[in-house]
Point group: C2
Chain length 437, copies 2
């Protein structure tokens, strides 16, 4: 199929934008992309679909989330992190999180991500074999990691059991095209150095991504500093030998410029979560400095319990806005850079940049179609500006992964939204009862 | 019509939420509101419309915008304010702004505001008689002010001509139910003290709202401080006698706590524009302190040239998030307070709180209907939380003003969206040509 007469923002290295442009999808892959006229002439026998000036853009990549927590969306807000975690989230997780919760909460989150233009996500939670099945069913891509931590979890009585389960997971999904398994250590302040090292070695052994929360809160940074004789969190991880190009460090709110130099040297990827950081009052990550130091920064929504949305377009916009206002410099985080974070950098953070993240020949046909005729999208002087400052999920019309249509204007083609809503509703009723809301 | 089986977030003083609730509209006004069962029993002969658990909420009020600038949306971004204004916006305004621009740009902005749940707005721009006709046609409410300034404008060669035109405007719209005319002095740094005082006296004479930009940028605050012997902008306006309960001060990014005390004492309303302040790198307004000092703070989008959207739900969310992260205090700007800013406080800023801003008996039937069955809105534990952190314009299904349906799921009932898009497109082509984009 040749998708013609479109505005194609490729996100390739040359920053090519074709307007009017065309995208040729063959057997799920991008067979060609370029100027509309040239491609029509080159492929006269292809079926052409006229895209009427809509924007074609790579599917977004959510680099840090806890998808099934969609079932905790709006359960508790406007509270100190400790109260939020200890009085609401952890007790509810202990009571409620089981494979059924993961299945339906995961599917609920996936419905929302698809409708907002996300085609791949990086997850950290529990029972990832169950979430993996949900991802397969949806047609999306994901990197899924079961959280290792020093305490008992809904899934494992102790870290040893967690590691055993993780190994099974790594082995059983080894050859999957859509789902990769990552190794997740929750955070430097919740995992012993032994657990961190074990986890890291496991990630090396299985060539799996390593996903970890790093320096999310001021308290965490201070705690490590105190416990580790004035070391920074990044310094501590570096000393343990846990920084490498297959590591994604989520948050990095409380890191210094010397920390950034280490992360850059080690080619660690950062997942920036601006909404969650503001909402939980963790602070504002030094995004402009991370980018100045050449770090690969991707974007995440974090879980819907602390956002309370999985719409990555909101994160793109917020990431582009925040540094400008805080540093009083309107030239920081230009629109294009914000888009890179949600696409190519996301793909790098997930270790799937050979497959997705840009519209280039040979990559998978993961793309979204953006409405440009809505009054809120007009005039359209510069598509890159609109994609950052104007587009919301209300403008996402269609979503494709490997050339397959997953979503069109409210309709899902791989998932039964009614059933997922019904099951989510049942579980939510139980959460309501348990929490006394 | 009795709108039953809804979640009704009234925004009345007792913070009443009825779930399930019902809203009775008679002759365009709210005749009753309360629990679903009680109202059905009380009004057995009313036609009932089952709202299927959707949220009914007061129409949003945009307290500061320049609507026709929708035609400059995305024309220039990521630039220092001076470059943006002097190289892009002002030259384009001088060349392009005429009654035709106002008509179609105004209608374009109105289409967007309606679809995102806004039912009233506070405008500052030119040729407001033309915009007034557009507002009448749309069925919305607005307070419209022609900007007075020391320099020539697209509408007036000098301030005297501006004042003459404004007087005509004030007199010709005096008895209108939908449109009020305000007196707008652009800003303390662009108007002489004589012009400011003349403008203020005019607002008193005509009982018109007074709308002015105050302390938007650091440079502006420093300029006034230097020129006025160390006076703050607010102190300067206070000395001139220009602060009163009918004044709306837009921005207030660079004000101190003593300034806030003055504004509070004088009952001045503040229009807070968080996106525009970040995007233009003006800074972040001290919202939590303004609220602590008891100021009535409303929310605005500013113009689409510096936002680049007129969706007030984005401002609600951002206003609720920003102070939390910046002050590292998750209890600042709780969800309900953010909603007050966009509704009751907005109505106070526009001087129309007798008519709109909450769902209370006797007020006009200005309300919006929010989808709650979309996956991104589920579960729905607490409607107030969702209205702030989750809702976007994608969830706005219907918009009513004085009980009249203006919009339903992409369809407009008072305006010809195709024609407006066509005309906007023509003007945008000319802007493109003039600006060399």
């Amino acid at each position: 199929m040749l998708y013609g007469n479109a505005v194609i923002v490729t996100m390739d290295e040359e920053r090519n934008i074709y307007a009017p442009g065309a995208l040729l999808i063959k057997e799920g892959k991008i067979a060609d992309v370029g100027k509309d006229k040239a491609l029509r002439e080159m492929y006269p026998h292809e079926t052409v679909r006229d895209m009427e000036g809509k924007i074609l853009f790579p599917g977004l990549i959510n680099a840090h989330t806890h998808t099934p927590m969609a079932l905790f969306r709006g359960l508790a807000d406007d509270l100190p992190l400790n109260t939020w975690l200890k009085e609401y989230i952890w007790p509810m997780e202990n009571k409620m999180v089981n494979p059924e919760f993961i299945q339906w909460g995961g599917l609920l989150g996936i419905l929302e991500m698809i409708a907002s233009g996300t085609t791949a996500f990086n997850d950290m939670y529990f029972y990832q074999d169950v979430l993996g099945q949900a991802v397969k069913q949806s047609g999306m891509r994901a990197v899924l990691g079961q959280g290792l931590i020093d305490f008992p979890t809904p899934e494992a009585k102790n870290p040893e059991e967690g590691i055993q389960r993780l190994q099974t997971l790594l082995e059983s999904w080894e050859d999957d095209e859509q789902v990769d398994i990552s190794v997740c250590a929750h955070a430097p302040y919740t995992c012993s150095s032994e657990l961190l090292k074990k986890a890291f070695r496991l990630s090396e052994k299985y060539h799996a991504p390593f996903h970890i929360h790093v320096a999310e809160t001021r308290q965490e940074a201070e705690l490590i500093k105190e416990k580790k004789h004035d070391e920074s969190i990044v310094g501590y991880l570096e000393r343990l030998g846990l920084l490498d190009s297959h590591v994604t460090a989520a948050h990095c709110v409380w890191i210094s410029e010397p920390d950034m130099e280490i992360l850059q040297k080690r080619k660690v990827k950062v997942a920036h979560n601006p909404t969650s950081n503001l909402k939980l009052a963790s602070g504002t990550a030094p995004l402009h400095l991370m980018l100045k130091h050449g770090l690969t920064v991707a974007l995440g929504t974090d879980g819907a319990a602390s956002n309370n949305s999985l719409d990555l377009f909101r994160e793109i916009r917020l990431a582009a806005l925040l540094s400008k206002g805080l540093q009083e410099d309107p030239e920081l985080i230009p629109a294009y850079q914000a888009l890179e974070m949600a696409t190519v950098n996301g793909a790098r953070a997930l270790g799937i940049d050979d497959k997705t993240g840009s519209l280039e020949i040979g990559k998978e046909g993961d793309f979204i179609v953006i409405n440009t005729s809505d009054p809120s999208m007009q005039p359209l002087y510069r598509p890159v500006s609109h994609l950052v400052y104007t587009v919301g999920r209300e403008h996402v019309e269609e979503v494709f992964v490997s050339g397959r249509l997953l979503y069109r204007k409210g309709e899902y083609f791989t998932l039964d939204a009614s059933l997922i809503l019904e099951k989510s509703h049942e579980i939510a009723q139980r959460i309501r009862k348990e929490s006394g809301i």
